[in-house]
C-alpha cells in the first residue's frame, strides 16, 4: 500500500474548517517576528521542506554613474573603466544585501535576483539591485549534521538558484557557497573600409568580430572561475551568460557570467530517480 492510498481527502479530514477557525482567531497586533519573503509559493514551500526557514526579504541597491570611455576605432580591446564600473556597482549592491542578511543573523540568502535597470535618473546612470530572501538553517537542513553554512569569508551564502533548483541541490548533497560573477566590457573593432568593401556580396566570416566575442567571453568566464577558487568551491552551477549593450551603442558590449559556487556536503551524492509524468495541463 503506497502513501497515496491513505486518506488525503482534505474535505473529509476537516482541514479547511481548521484553517477558517485559525483565521477567526486573528487579532491585530504589534509587528513582532514577521517574516517577509520574495519567494513564490512553490519556492517558499520547497525551501522550508529542505530545512531552511525564511527570515526576511533583503535587498541592496546602488545608483551608479558609469564613466565615459572610448575605444580605439580599429582595435578589439577591453574597456577597463567600464568593466570596473560594472564590478564596483554590483559589488556595492551585493555587499549591502549581505549586510542586511547579517543583521538578521541569517545563514544564507536564496533566490537572489541581480538586475541592472535604467530608471529615469538620466543617461549613463543605472540602478544595480540585488534582492533575495534571507534564510536560517534548521538543524535538520541538508540531512542534518552540517555545522557551518556560511562560506570561508564568514558571510551568509548567496545563491541565485530558484527554490526548485536549490531543493534539488541540497537533496543531492551539495551546499551553495556564494554567487560568483565575471564581467567584461569589450569594444569591438570597426571594420576597415577596404575590408567592408571587399565583403560586399560575399559569404564570409567576420573574423575580428568572432575574435572579439571569444576574447570577451574568455575574460568574463575566467574572472568568474577565479572568484569560485577564492571560495574553495568544487564547481559552479546554474551559470547564465548574458550579453548587453546597455546604452553604449552597437560596438560596445558587456559579457556577464554569473553562477552559484557549490561545495559537497558529503562524499556520496545519490540523486533520486525522477518520476516520469505526462502532464494533462494545457
Amino acid at each position: 500500500m503506497t502513501e497515496q492510498q491513505q486518506s488525503t481527502d482534505f474535505g473529509v479530514l476537516g482541514v479547511p474548517q481548521d484553517a477558517m477557525k485559525r483565521l477567526a482567531e486573528l487579532r491585530p497586533g504589534q509587528p513582532g517576528s514577521i517574516f517577509t519573503s520574495d519567494l513564490s509559493v512553490n519556492e517558499f514551500l520547497l525551501v522550508r521542506e529542505c530545512g531552511f526557514r525564511p527570515l526576511g526579504l533583503v535587498l541592496g541597491s546602488s545608483i551608479y554613474h558609469v564613466g565615459l570611455q572610448v575605444g580605439r576605432w580599429g582595435k578589439n580591446q577591453e574597456l577597463d573603466v567600464l568593466s570596473q564600473a560594472m564590478y564596483h556597482a554590483r559589488e556595492l549592491a551585493m555587499t549591502r544585501m549581505e549586510a542586511e542578511a547579517q543583521a538578521l543573523g541569517a545563514d544564507g540568502i536564496v533566490g537572489v535576483r541581480l538586475d541592472v535597470e535604467m530608471k529615469e535618473f538620466g543617461n549613463d546612470i543605472a540602478e544595480f539591485i540585488a534582492v533575495g530572501t534571507a534564510v536560517h538553517a534548521e538543524p535538520e537542513a541538508g540531512g542534518g549534521g552540517v555545522k557551518e553554512w556560511r562560506n570561508n569569508k564568514n558571510l551568509p551564502f548567496t545563491s541565485d538558484l530558484s527554490g526548485q533548483d536549490f531543493w534539488t541541490l541540497i537533496r543531492a548533497g551539495y551546499a551553495p557557497l556564494g554567487m560568483v560573477m565575471g564581467s567584461c566590457v569589450y569594444h569591438i573593432a570597426h571594420q576597415r573600409l577596404g575590408g567592408k568593401l571587399g565583403n560586399i556580396g560575399r559569404n564570409v566570416e567576420l573574423e575580428q568580430f568572432t575574435q572579439a566575442l571569444y576574447d570577451a567571453r574568455e575574460l568574463a568566464m575566467s574572472r568568474m572561475q577565479a572568484e569560485a577558487e577564492e571560495l574553495h568551491a568544487e564547481g559552479i552551477v546554474g551559470v547564465q551568460l548574458r550579453q548587453h549593450s546597455h546604452t553604449w551603442g552597437s560596438h560596445t558590449t558587456e559579457f556577464f557570467a554569473i553562477g552559484t559556487a557549490v561545495r559537497p556536503l558529503r562524499e556520496d551524492h545519490v540523486i533520486e530517480r525522477p518520476t516520469m509524468v505526462l502532464s494533462l495541463d494545457s
Partner: protein
Amino acid sequence: MAEIRGSGTWSSALSADEFAAIRSVGFEPVGQVLGAAVYNVGYTGGYSCPGAWAGYGGYVTPYRSITAVSGAGGMGSYNALVKTMYEARHKAIDRMSAECAALGGHGVVSASIEIGMFPAGGLEFKAIGTAVRAPGGVPLARPFTSDLSGQDFAKLIMAGWVPAGFALGISIGARHDDWLTMNQTSWGAGNSEVVGYTDLVNQGRHDARQQLERDVARLGAEGVVVSSMDMRVRDRECPMQEHRKDHIVEVTIIGTATVRFAGPRHPAPASSLAIMSLDPQRRQAARVKLGS
C-alpha cells in the same frame, strides 16, 4: 447578491485547473466578486521641498540634501497621497470581501487589483476575484483575500498555511538634487556611485517595507509572501528653488499575508516528488538561456 445566492449554480473566472486544485483541498467556489472605488485625488501633499536650504534672498542648493519619505511625515512629505492610495485600495478590497461574506464565502482567491482612469473623471480602483468557502467552517467577520492562483492556494493549504489577506507597502520619497549629486552625474564624472539617488531609493524601499510589516500586523498575520515590488522614478521642478529639480520615487509592494494553522486532523505533508516531464516544450523551457 440575493439572486446569486438563491440560484444554486455558481459562476467563476477560475480555469478548470484552478477549480480542480481548490476542490482537492476541500474548498468550493461560490461566485465571482467585485469591489470598486472611484477617487478624486485633489490633495496630495508634497507642496514644499525640505531639501532646499533657506538662504538670503531665496532658497539655495545644499551640498548634501536629505530624503523625505512619506512614512515619516513632516513638511513637504507625500503622506496625504499615500494615505489615499491605501484608503482607496482598502475600500475596494473590503467591498469585495463584503460581497464574498454576503454569498456565504470564507475568502477570495485569484484576486487582482486594477487601477485605471475612470472615463467620467477620477481614478478607479477595482478588486475582482473568486469567492470560495469551506463547507461547515465558522463564518468569518472579515473573509480573507489573496492574489494567489487556485493552485498556489491549494499548495499552501496542503502545507499548513492559510492566506489572511492582502498586505500592501506603499511609500513615496522625495529628494532635492544637491551639489554632490550634480557633480556625480555630470558627463565627466567618471565611475562613481550617485550617493544622493542611492539614498533616495534605499530610504523609499525601506519605508515601503516598514509599511508592509505594519499592514501585516494590522491583520494579525505571521508573515508575508511578496508577489510584486515595483518602483517608479520621476523628477519635478523644485517648488522652492527655481531651475532645480527634485527626484521622486514611488515604491509599491504587494503580497499575501499568511498564517500557520495546524489541526489535529491535518495529514502529514507528503514530501515533494521530483518529476521529469515527458512534454518536450517544458524541457525546452528549463534549459539555460544564452544571449540577452
